[in-house]
Subunit: 557 residues, 2 copies
């Protein structure tokens, strides 16, 4: 390992560990793509670098002897193939290389692993803009989200995993002398402990957040000494390929086997995820994606699994101070990345008797109309809409938005499309809103991924809470927004939603949204409901990746 | 809650938390049954109190309206029924009472739960001798082990679980203000977090260590806010029934529902464990016992499970300083409670070329003979043997010891019996020793519970290590003893056994044994091999019993 790498990054590591404990605001990587922070030409250079990848082989990886060159990415903005080809390796090759690398990596001390991994983030930082454009043209995210989610926010989540893993592996003394008084003499034992990594790790990425949802598990497995195989979604490879390449370069520069972190891209004619996941040498799996495949991953024997599947997220509207501000906040949450977020709200529970606004009851119809108007106004604002909604990653999402047959209710707002000022061919749509009665449970008991809002008319707030809890317990939930000015109702919502393991954001207005969560402070998918157990980053996220093993011996006199 | 209870026990809690972090020697409950510590008449009174339970209904529990009175315990020392009858409740009754109690218990703060649970240990302490006699006459343990394992050692493991659970639930601030600089203004959110308990917990006890193996899971679930149902082995109820009764009294005295901790005894005509385990309301299960049932428990969906199943524990003999001392140490480990311990050694790997003793090679045959002689001498010593071997809990163990057909090897030492100076009818046997060639893997690839030793002749120490690792990886291991004076060999053993997640005790002689482990310092069954994942008490043992849920709201200006 390069001299001074460990010392160089001590202050970052210590600040991150302190932030995890304090849970107050902390960010190592500034989220604002300012020239003053990232350099005058960083954006332009990033865009150009992104373009150099198109229609070429991606040759930055240090994995030797590919069997083929593969790739099937398309840009949701241009609706054209990116034409990038990545090296392809058979599952056996990937796993046996990981196994070999394991025996080197597991012997590197946690502090040194932390330094190496932080160094990789510092290198990746120089490529945030390039990664941002790669994210735009694979996921359809708008520019700002692409930059923030795939760049600084992902790097901060990675740093969080590094710091948490370092903290948990070093929480006990490496060696002590244990001295037991026996009356006439003391029994003395020298004791040591090792945090033993579990083995080969696999991270299965998703198409919408190719780095943000991948790097936490990737870095958590790495910091705890496990070699990792990154299997991105075949439609969103480039952003994470750049990340993996940077990790490999840091490993090699420090005399380590770059196969400690490998990229595994699907073949053009077959997907390799099941082969990898079922390989008995693979001991750890992180997965982000749909429920069906997630349940399959969770059912595999002999693996430690972390999942982020789908959720049915609720908004509970009881009473508010300023309905316009609430409507605007919710409109933003629904429009953001066209609802293609695991944290986006879907089910809006509103009492039939209406919502109290600063003490006066506003009828249900008016509340619903206000929200629908706010959604429309934002989506159709040519200066704001395209930068918030972005494009639609998967054509199936458009179909889901346009198709309403499976929902028993009234259409309050039809989905339209809008033009993107830069990309004439962008795949877009504006949100659709349905009104559904609380009795029509089948219509709202599943995730409708994309910009689909259901206004669910309930008897009262108690029913709203009960239904939000039921949805979370039975179908999973990753976020919940609640609006109430009544302390007792707030207490009840906290209590009932806590039993469904669902975090609640109360009374959000202004510049913070239910679908956003902050590294080092907000936990993400901590388990306890069917949405998964990804657990970014509470201690479970790292400690399940290694086993404590103790050694003892009589102490020398 | 009683005034001052929390304050009263703060120092115990703080000392226990500090001990967990330091891992140096700590014991809250003295292991020596000295009159100076426990009172002049404590032993005599305890024995008498034990006798008052015989042939009566156990009426101390605060669980109302039993459906029947049941009991099927026998004393391995007297080979007679104890005749104690316990209240019986249907599974539905137990689970619905636990659910009801849950909503009270989960709202008690972790610090208050800790105080209440420590108070229960302080009360149980006054009954250590009574519990000791109850343990003798259910498990067959000798007096000293009965006292230590079921009394102070169990209480210390319980305290360890309480302290660890308290520590993990309070490691983050309860509430903070999160302030994010946005350039011209700061975004401010008030945030709080709750450690939300998972729900009804079940602890399934074993017949040999009815309190030691039960209280860690029981107290770990309780400290994290889960109501618990204790299902003891039908042959070893009384020791834990006393413990549960004391917990219930403390709960009731402090205005809480005693059903927060219930005892569930099998009916005389059917076992209720599967009914309980499969109940969908049961979310957490701790299990100690055989592999087959343990695998069944682990296969249940939607449960968080902690198991301690069986292990195939190895001794690796390479080189020693003093063979006599080593033989005596190993003889004690094998004779202790007649090998009826999950940590007892079974497979002794010895190179065919012999063992280096202070630099000189001692032939294999001589090594084996020395160990066999030491085993015999200790077992047949009328002043020591009965106090170490105790009695045999299960008649099937005697059959296993006498039956050698399934082992392909030579009998080096036949099992005999010995008379107990106090109990003429005690069920006893001395250890049996077989010699098996390393090639006869089938003979040593399973746990042979009881005083059964296999001397396995290997090509060399490398093969010994490889086989010990293979046994641990494939069939589980909870302990490993290794003897080597060579630093490189020691390093290799540490490395290879760490990959099989097996703790190793090196070069033990004198008063410490491979089958003993110490609360607050030695981890026990941390996972990573098929012996289980009980994880006394690394953080996993407590944090998997609750879910972190966060709440946030714009901060008031």
């Amino acid at each position: 390992m390069e001299l001074n790498l460990s010392e160089k990054h001590t202050s970052i590591l210590e600040a991150a560990v302190a932030a995890i404990d304090a849970r107050t605001f902390f960010a190592q990587y500034p989220e604002n793509p300012l020239p003053e922070v990232y350099g005058e030409n960083a954006d332009k250079e990033g865009r150009e670098k992104y373009k150099t990848h198109l229609n070429k082989q991606f040759t930055e990886l240090l994995q030797q002897d590919p069997e083929a060159w593969v790739g099937q990415e398309d840009s949701p903005y241009e609706q054209q193939p990116l034409g990038i080809k990545y090296p392809y390796f058979a599952t056996e090759t990937l796993v046996s290389r990981a196994e070999e690398a394991f025996h080197q990596w597991r012997k590197v001390k946690p502090a040194d692993r932390a330094a190496l991994l932080i160094e990789s983030l510092e290198q990746i930082k120089h490529r945030f803009f390039e990664i941002a454009y790669a994210t735009m043209h694979t996921t359809g995210q708008a520019y700002m989200m692409s930059f923030q989610a795939s760049g600084p926010h992902a790097a901060d989540r990675a740093l969080e995993a590094i710091a948490s893993g370092y903290q948990e592996q070093t929480r006990y003394p490496e060696a002590i002398t244990w001295e037991k008084p026996m009356g006439k003499y003391n029994l003395k034992l020298d004791k040591t402990w090792k945090a033993v990594p579990k083995g080969v790790a696999l991270v299965i990425g998703c198409a919408t957040f190719p780095t943000w949802n991948t790097v936490p598990g990737m870095y958590a497995s790495l910091i705890t000494g496990n070699p990792v195989i990154i299997k991105p979604h075949p439609k969103a490879v480039l952003p994470i390929a750049i990340v993996v390449a940077e990790v490999q370069k840091v490993l090699q520069a420090n005399g380590l086997n770059p196969n400690i972190c490998q990229l595994a891209v699907d073949a053009d004619d077959h997907l390799i995820t099941k082969e990898l996941a079922e390989n008995p040498k693979v001991k750890l799996i992180d997965y982000t994606g749909g429920t069906e495949f997630g349940n399959y991953v969770e059912s595999l024997k002999g693996k430690t699994v972390f999942t982020e599947k789908t959720g049915v997220n609720s908004i509970i509207l009881d009473s508010v101070e300023d309905l316009d501000k609430v409507a605007q906040n919710l409109a933003f949450s629904v429009n953001l990345y066209s609802g293609q977020m695991c944290t986006a709200p879907q089910n809006f529970f509103i009492p039939a008797s209406g919502v109290k606004v600063a003490g006066e009851t506003v009828p249900y119809e008016e509340v619903v109309k206000k929200i629908a108007d706010a959604v429309t106004a934002l989506a159709n604002n040519p200066k704001a809409g395209p930068h918030i909604l972005g494009a639609i990653q998967n054509p199936a999402t458009i179909e889901r938005v346009k198709e309403s047959a499976s929902i028993k209710g009234t259409t309050l707002l039809n989905s339209g499309d809008f033009s993107n000022p830069v990309f004439a061919n962008a795949r877009t749509c504006t949100p659709v809103i349905y009104e559904v009665d609380a009795s029509e449970k089948e219509s709202y008991s599943r995730e409708l991924f994309g910009p689909i809002m259901l206004m669910i008319k309930t008897q009262d707030t108690d029913q709203s809470i009960a239904l939000a809890q039921e949805m979370a317990l039975n179908y999973g939930a990753i976020s919940c927004g609640a609006y109430t000015t009544d302390p007792e109702t707030k207490e009840k919502i906290m209590d009932e939603m806590s039993l469904a393991a669902t975090p609640v954001s109360f009374n959000l207005t202004g510049g913070i949204y239910v679908n956003q969560n902050a590294s080092f402070s907000d936990f993400h998918v901590t388990g306890g409901n069917p949405a998964g157990n990804a657990s970014f980053t509470n201690p479970e996220f790292v400690i399940k990746r290694f086993t404590w093993v103790g050694f003892r011996e009589p102490a020398m006199a």
